[in-house]
């Protein structure tokens, strides 16, 4: 890849003021189980080059998986630059070094398909002990990826990364009642993967879901599990702190830097440098070193996250959040959002609720007015709380509210944060009152 990337850069630099080549390749091997049994083994190789150029102050962009035709790639990029957006890019000049993020594990690439099959089958066999009527889907996957970035202002960097992940879904159908419980884990390191925790979480929830209980339409206290909070509350927060939406004024947090908007116990970070994590990288997609950015500190908005172009337009600096795929320009994206743990134990939060809801999975909460902070989702997996105890699973129930109102006054933040599928680290969140609608 290095040779072709250099060739494209040299070719593009003849006509462009500035050029940047982003090259990525990966090989992914998913092993998939359906209905308790191995279903398929796959290998997916993918590679490509993305070229961003600036000509007469305008940005052009093209990408291709056809490495044999660098001319075509350059020509496509030049064609779009004639009427592309005006550049506000600060050109990176740094050679980015890996600070020891430990993103590559030879044990992952060496992991045999047989071993992956065994990992999946063991998870399924343990869950099946809970009943003949349980059907599990599962997947075990490994990925080996490499990224290379070169630009004409001297900026460059490269890294390799492995990811190994597990997903497990338990399905139980009784009459017209369909129950699905899923858990997942992912890491750059085979040794850090915790299949037992995934299985135990599924088993615990299967047991809790035995009993179906009614719930009434009312404003009720709601505790979100880390997964429940991830699925319900994170997308509006992520949007509101996105520098691009802030710049456009489309974020409710625009103009509120420094204001205390959230509960004083609430702090939120974006962290691109968690060692050994799939979301980490030494640099972002445009060669800016990643960092840990404090977005919300003790309830006050401290920063938004930026890529180069948005930062240029906003008159600020990139926070190393230029995320990209191969086929589009970078735009602001988070690495791993981490909510700082609080002081409440899960047991104490539960004990505090006389009538309420524990939400573990929601569905469609993302489909509403995310920009406005609104969420309204079907409680796909949730449990009724009565007098401090989980008494059973609820169905045909929705939970709705506004993220900014909900996080402005929390009744408790869990004293431990948990990684949700390796993507975000979140504690239990206890919201004193939310609209719960039931059939």
């Amino acid at each position: 890849m290095q040779d072709i990337a250099e060739q494209v850069l040299a070719l593009a630099s003849r006509s462009a003021t500035w050029a940047e080549v982003y090259a990525a390749s990966e090989e992914e091997t998913p092993v998939t189980f359906k209905a308790n049994r191995l279903h398929s083994v796959e290998t997916r190789e993918a590679r490509g080059l993305a070229l961003r150029i600036v000509v007469d102050g305008r940005i052009g962009f093209a990408s291709s998986s056809q490495l044999e035709e660098p001319d075509l790639l350059v020509r496509d990029a030049l064609a779009t630059a004639r009427f592309g957006p005006e550049s506000a890019l600060a050109y990176p000049t740094e050679r980015v070094q890996d600070p020891g993020l430990d993103l590559y594990d030879g044990q992952v690439t060496a992991l045999s398909i047989d071993a992956m099959v065994q990992m999946g089958q063991q998870m399924i066999d343990r869950v099946r002990t809970r009943g003949e009527d349980i059907l599990c889907d599962a997947d075990v996957r490994k990925v080996a990826a490499s990224v290379l970035l070169l630009n004409s202002s001297g900026g460059q960097g490269s890294y390799r990364q492995t990811v190994v992940g597990l997903g497990l879904n338990a399905n139980r159908v009784r009459g017209t009642d369909i129950l699905d419980i899923w858990e997942e884990d992912a890491s750059c390191h085979l040794g850090a993967l915790d299949a037992d925790a995934v299985v135990n979480a599924v088993l615990e929830k299967l047991d809790l879901a035995e009993e179906l209980v009614p719930i009434r339409t009312a404003s009720l206290p709601v505790i979100f599990t880390p997964k429940g909070a991830y699925m319900t509350l994170l997308a509006p927060l992520q949007a509101a702190l996105n520098g691009k939406l802030v710049l456009q004024g489309a974020s409710p947090l625009a103009g509120r830097l420094g204001d205390t908007v959230f509960d004083p116990a609430f702090s939120l970070f974006d962290d691109g440098r968690v060692p050994g994590h799939p979301t980490s990288a030494p640099m972002d997609g445009e060669g800016v070193p990643t960092r840990r950015t404090t977005l919300v500190e003790h309830g006050a908005v401290r920063a938004f996250y930026y890529d180069l172009q948005t930062a240029g337009l906003a008159g600020t600096e990139s926070t190393g959040n230029g995320q990209r795929g191969l086929t589009s320009l970078p735009s602001p994206g988070t690495h791993a959002l981490r909510i700082a743990p609080g002081t409440a134990s899960y047991e104490a939060m539960l004990a505090d609720v006389s009538e309420g809801l524990l939400v573990d999975q929601t569905m469609g909460a993302w489909a509403g007015n995310v920009l406005g902070g609104q969420f309204s989702g079907n409680v796909h997996l949730g449990f009724k709380i009565e007098n401090g105890r989980l008494v059973g699973r609820v169905k045909d129930t929705m939970v709705a509210g506004n993220v900014f109102e909900a996080l402005a006054r929390l009744a408790g933040i869990g004293d431990q944060s948990y990684w949700v599928g390796g993507r975000a680290e979140i504690p239990y969140l206890y919201i004193p009152s939310l609209a719960v609608s039931a059939r």
Binding site: V41, S64, D76, T80, L371
Partner: protein
């Protein structure tokens, strides 16, 4: 290329092997606010091999299409690692065919700067029509040539054209932000963006009006659902449940979805089919080389069919429906919807409205999601209905329900079938897949709405 592909299909020691080779070109244009944000072109060339050995699947996808034999060997080797009982794929005709794509105003024939100018015009109309905070206008088009060949002797070359565009208006008052949108799509025909000025103006005004609309109180309501939202409903609530890959290995779900089960009243007819021409889910052959069909899923209220790949049809002993699709060469074909719709009934919109004493009229959707039994989708626009009249606008309307109850609670089906082409469907890792959804207006009792 044909010789290379067919040569690679020889001597593999598998029960079945298929090869896909795809070449695609895409154009993406984005405006954010008043400014152009991105214009980009992408090209890709890649392929995959899928192999079946004694009921187990192996699959390999790649960019380097020169060494097909190596990937056939890899896929066959992987399939051997999957011990299953033997599988007889549902029979497929052996086909040799070349399918060319064409469109009235073909995206391939229009220079990128003309496309940028057209989108700018609409983006400017948004700005001119109401005091907005910002806008987002996104456009994508695609031209793909795919070769499909299998070890049964089928060899097809098929072209695909696709276009999708969305215009979003964002209004803000203090900390409140609301948005409204218009999404359109076609099989690569730019005339779909002709004459949309009035609709785009209405989008801008709606975003601003939503800021002062009261929020709906959560609870159970009688709703009239417009054709756009009803299309999302039939797709989310029922379509996904009809996908046989969810059903075939789950004995309880098979009992629940047994053909002959009554789901709704005698007026309810639900179909899916790529053979319905001219929509974004239309094609000549699916990703397994099966000729497109049109399938009744519910006829006169009774479950009569489901969506199949050759594998699921073979395993369930039901007729195949040509619903195996993959978003691109990186992924194997899985059971997907194409153009899913509710057939029109005989109730006029006025008749429907006059029967509602207290309810909600919901229009269009930001999106939806399903978990088989339960579904949820958001309304982009909603109004209170009192005594048969449409009154004040409402916001924050998110509908949820149980498919079995909700289909049975459809009280009236309109006579006004309309199609929506802006949809992109997601399943597993594969999104967005071009689909179309169609429905007339529906009157449904007892729908749970989560306030907010």
């Amino acid at each position: 290329m044909r010789d290379m592909v067919q040569d690679a299909l020889r001597g593999h020691r598998a029960d079945y092997v298929e090869i896909h080779i795809e070449e695609a070109e895409t154009t993406a244009i984005r405006f954010r606010g008043r400014e152009l944000e991105e214009v980009g072109r992408s090209r890709s060339l890649g392929g995959n091999v899928r192999a079946l050995v004694r009921g187990g699947w192996g699959f390999a996808s790649f960019n380097d299409v020169r060494d097909l034999r190596r990937y056939v060997e890899l896929a066959v080797h992987q399939a051997r690692l999957v011990p299953r009982e033997p599988l007889t794929l549902a029979p497929a005709p052996v086909i040799e065919d070349v399918v060319r794509a064409s469109a009235r105003k073909d995206v391939r024939g229009i220079p990128v700067d003309d496309k940028v100018a057209l989108l700018k015009e609409y983006n400017d109309i948004l700005w001119a029509s109401a005091p907005l905070q910002t806008t987002a206008t996104r456009y994508n088009d695609l031209f793909r040539r795919s070769i499909f060949a299998n070890s049964e002797g089928t060899y097809t070359e098929q072209e695909v054209l696709d276009l999708s565009a969305v215009l979003i208006a964002v209004a803000r008052k203090d900390s409140e932000v609301e948005q409204a949108f218009l999404s359109v799509g076609s099989q690569g025909d730019l005339t779909v963006l002709d004459g949309r000025q009035a609709e785009v103006e209405a989008v801008a005004r709606r975003a601003v009006e939503l800021l002062s609309a009261p929020r709906i109180k959560g609870g159970t309501y009688t709703v009239i659902v417009d054709p756009k939202l009803a299309g999302v409903f039939v797709h989310e609530a029922f379509g996904h449940l009809s996908e046989a890959d969810h059903v075939y290995e789950n004995p309880r779900l098979r009992e629940l979805m047994v053909l002959g089960r009554r789901f709704g009243g005698p007026l309810l007819n639900i179909l899916d089919g790529a053979a319905v021409p001219g929509h974004r889910g239309s094609y000549a052959y699916d990703s397994e080389g099966m000729p497109a069909q049109r399938t009744y899923l519910i006829r006169e209220g009774v479950l009569v069919g489901r969506l199949h790949s050759r594998e699921t049809a073979g395993r369930m002993g039901e007729p195949p429906t040509a619903n195996a699709r993959s978003i691109n060469y990186r992924y194997p074909p899985i059971v997907r919807m194409t153009n899913t719709y509710i057939e029109p009934g005989n109730t006029t919109f006025e008749q429907m409205l006059s029967g509602v004493d207290d309810g909600v009229y919901v229009k269009d959707s930001f999106g939806g999601q399903t978990s088989m039994e339960m579904f949820t989708f958001s309304a982009a626009e909603a109004f209170r209905i009192r005594k048969g009249r449409i009154e004040e606008p409402l916001r924050g309307v998110n509908l949820s329900g149980n498919v079995f109850q909700t289909l049975a609670n459809i009280e009236a089906i309109g006579n006004d079938l309309q199609w929506s082409e802006g949809g992109g469907c997601g399943k597993g890792e594969q999104a967005p897949l071009p689909v179309a959804m169609g429905s007339p207006h529906l009157l449904i009792r007892d729908v749970v709405i989560g306030g907010g």
